[in-house]
């Protein structure tokens, strides 16, 4: 059913001239990179100019490079027939499956889609499926997609979505080249000038040209007398068309004057655009199509007569290929680092090499501390002064005083804040690379690295860090491989006097599931506990929260709230939010009295306001029963808390 690719029709036997160079280049690009270069590739030309030859050459070229490729060549008529046969046999689905598994679909003569609505729908579906799967489609037609009568708009846009190239009629030089090659293939020898005479006759397509050659070959075979140029002219019925001097004789207007004009202009442009310019333009088209920046080539075009054009093009291609290889390598190591514009600019190859080297060395820096937790914003009091002074000591003498520093304490006391604050301060040192992340992220990265078979890269990534700060180290419990890796890193860091900081909810020796060698190492530095916030801490936090809401601090209020016992800073934040929210809902200033009312449930003395109010994102109506505290989302997490949750 499917026509085989005719081995005679290969790229090697295709004579390239100005009129078809673009199409051939595009064809080669597609054969070399099916599915990526131009998809779909749409080739159109008048009859007999080499569409089918090029299509088959493309298929064979791809087959030669990638022998396993499943290539299907067929004309549209064959496709239609096959479809009808399949439908008649009740095998419509099998037919679809068969074509959806094709790696490269070559369809000849798609102009016959005119008036075939069901085939158009079928082809649209197939095109979509193939394109989605990244499979190559190449189509030929005798006219551009938009001029195929009655063609579905979606098909037009799909066909035009890749690259649409045309093959023009061959110019004189190409015609001579074609005749010479064909004559050689037939082992026919002609007197000098004969083939040139035939070529000069401006046959509209290659088939006619072949017909003329055939007649010459046949004549010469029968007559045994070598044909000369004049004889060839007579044989082919070509009269002398030399123009006399003076005003040219003009014939009556013929049918397609514009077509003839267009053809002439095409030939003239083809001749006039110097060959090197055409080559450069092609290279620009090709590499631009693949997404590379081509200023280097474009710069050539702005010169009058640049030297070594082909060397530059070849050099550019070499650089682009190198970039392609680098990008592929980088993508395998670190998908995040690939796709940089750096890998698309051959003029910055050195930068790209360096970037690739950095990725290879794991230089993509490990995750750093979050900027949301500056040290200056950390409220200090008796309850945490040990931890904070230890942190300051670590910041001043990283790796020398307390290594490791383990911060322990319940949730909501500011361990993560202090950890990130230390990280931020450490990162200020020149050349510092601070790895500061949650243990969960650390584990996830390790698993991804094991999965992607790039442990070397992972090792390099963390070994280059000057400090390692892990939040919630207890999450490592029961994860042997992570503990093993941490153990190695731990030793390396301690030997080099690089700082290690961890947080855990309890003293390390109370965390179950950690190997003794890890526990003992964690205990070996300083374990500093963060206690429930004392009054000073509470007051500082309170002042800061009120300042953030632009509420003037009232001494009575500060005293009242700061005196209330809370077990964590986070709980304190919740309390303040409740008070502020209530104040906004009742349109009252934030006072100690109000706070007491809200927190201890005493009735408010003020009258109620009516209407809707906006409080920290909640619209509250005082008309309904929503004033009931239980129904209010008072503990809406503040932005800092939300960021913490997203980080995890």
């Amino acid at each position: 059913m499917t026509a085989a690719l005719n081995p005679k029709f290969s790229f090697e036997t295709f004579v390239v001239g100005a009129a078809n160079r673009l199409a051939v280049t595009a064809g080669r690009a597609v054969a070399e990179n099916p599915g990526t270069a131009y998809n779909p590739l749409f080739i159109y030309s008048g009859s007999g100019l080499g569409k089918t030859h090029l299509l088959m050459a493309l298929g064979q070229g791809a087959k030669k490079l990638l022998p396993h490729l499943n290539i299907e060549y067929l004309t549209l008529d064959e496709y239609v027939e096959a479809f009808h046969a399949a439908v008649a046999a009740g095998q419509g689905d099998a037919f679809r499956r068969r074509f959806q598994n094709v790696d490269m679909l070559l369809v000849d003569d798609v102009q016959f889609l005119t008036n075939r609505k069901e085939m158009q729908a079928e082809l649209l579906r197939l095109t979509e499926a193939l394109q989605t799967a990244g499979h190559q489609i190449v189509l030929t037609s005798d006219r551009p997609p938009a001029e195929i009568a009655d063609l579905d708009e979606r098909l037009i846009s799909r066909f035009s979505g890749g690259l649409v190239v045309d093959i023009g009629a061959p110019d004189y030089e190409t015609r001579v080249a074609i005749l010479r090659r064909k004559a050689e293939e037939r082992r026919a020898k002609f007197q000098p000038g004969v083939l040139e005479t035939v070529a000069a006759a401006e046959f509209q397509n290659v088939r006619e040209l072949m017909g003329a050659l055939n007649r010459l070959v046949a004549y010469q075979a029968v007559n045994d007398v070598p044909l000369n140029a004049e004889g060839a002219k007579q044989l082919l019925g070509l009269s002398a068309t030399a123009r006399a001097g003076g005003p040219a004789a003009t014939a009556a207007p013929s049918g397609d004057e514009f077509g003839a004009f267009l053809h002439d202009v095409t030939v003239t442009v083809g001749k006039a655009v110097e060959a090197w310019r055409a080559r450069v333009a092609e290279a620009v088209l090709r590499w631009e199509g693949e997404g590379y920046r081509t200023q280097r080539l474009e710069a050539l075009l702005e010169q009058e007569a640049p030297a070594g054009v082909d060397d530059v093009i070849a050099g550019f291609a070499r650089d682009a290929e190198r970039l392609k290889a680098l990008e592929a390598e980088v993508a395998a190591l670190d998908p995040g680092a690939a796709g940089q514009s750096l890998f698309r600019d051959p003029d910055r190859l050195a930068d790209a090499e360096a970037a690739a080297e950095r990725v290879r060395a794991g230089a993509a820096p490990p995750p750093g501390p979050s900027g949301a937790f500056p040290l200056a914003a950390y409220a200090v009091g008796r309850s945490n002064e040990v931890a904070v002074s230890a942190a300051r000591a670590v910041i001043e003498h990283p790796g020398k005083r307390y290594n490791p520093l383990v911060l322990t304490g319940k949730s909501g006391l500011g361990k993560t804040h202090l950890l990130n604050a230390i990280g931020l301060e450490l990162a200020k040192a020149p050349g510092a690379i601070v790895a500061c992340l949650s243990t969960q992220a650390f584990i996830d990265e390790l698993i991804a690295a094991i999965d992607g078979n790039r442990m070397d890269w992972w090792h390099a990534r963390y070994r280059q860090a000057t400090a390692l700060l892990l939040d919630d180290v207890h999450l490592m419990a029961g994860k042997d491989r992570t503990q093993e890796e941490l153990f190695n890193l731990f030793n390396l860091f301690q030997d080099d006097e690089r700082q290690l900081v961890f947080t855990a909810p309890q003293h390390p020796n109370k965390v179950t599931g950690l190997e003794p060698r890890i526990t003992s190492r964690l205990e070996g530095g300083l374990v500093a506990e963060l206690a429930e916030p004392d009054r000073a801490v509470r007051r500082t936090v309170l002042e800061r929260l009120l300042a953030q809401q632009q509420i003037a601090p009232d001494a009575a209020l500060l005293d009242y709230v700061a005196d209330r016992p809370v077990d964590s800073v986070r709980a304190l934040v919740g309390v303040v939010q409740r008070v502020i929210g209530a104040a906004a809902a009742q349109d009252q200033p934030v006072t100690a009295g109000l706070a007491r009312e809200v927190l201890e449930g005493q009735p408010a003395e003020q009258g109620r306001r009516t209407g809707g109010f906006r409080t920290s994102g909640l619209v509250v109506s005082s008309l309904g029963g929503i004033r009931s505290r239980e129904k209010m989302a008072w503990d809406w997490p503040d932005p800092v808390d939300r960021i913490v949750e997203e980080l995890r």
């Binding site: 938009a146 207007p253 514009f258 003239t268 442009v269 655009v273 333009a281 702005e302 009058e304």
Partner: protein, 199 residues
Amino acid sequence: MSLVNFTTREITCKIVYYGPGRSGKTTNLHYVYGRVPEARRGRMVSLATQTDRTLFFDFLPIDLGEISGFATRFQLYTVPGQVYYNATRRLVLQGADGVVFVADSQARQLDENLESLQNLQSNLLELGIDIRTLPFVLQYNKQDLPRELILQAADLDDALNFRGVPSFPGDALHGRGVFETLKAISELVLKRLSAGSTA
């Protein structure tokens, strides 16, 4: 105007039809317009100011599509032929890549032809263009008129074509010579591509 832009891969040819009043310049454009497939041509524009009509000319853009990787466009202009529209003529001539001189073949119009030709030369000179380097062809229009009214192409060559540029007898009304003329000027213009020159 840059004739060929290798960076954006565009070729733009501005061709101006010049000649005395009523010699058939607009008729040339109309004929071309009628032969160009609809998708390839822009609207033919005839510009006139509302007040004094000193600025008016015809403009026909033709899109030839992609040729050798270049988006190729032709822009055909006519100038107003009447003597007193010289400012407009000079304006239209600006940036022309080639000029077609449409002469009126009628014997009694010979002086008008000569006058217009001289006017072309002086206008080009003022724009700093050397007519010897500018692609230039002649068309002897109205050759369909009775023989006794017109001069033959050879005579017109003697009278007007002293630079020996390509010349074509024409009958723009019926299309004879129109595309030959356009083809000839296009080839001259496009051949300058090889020098990579800008016009």
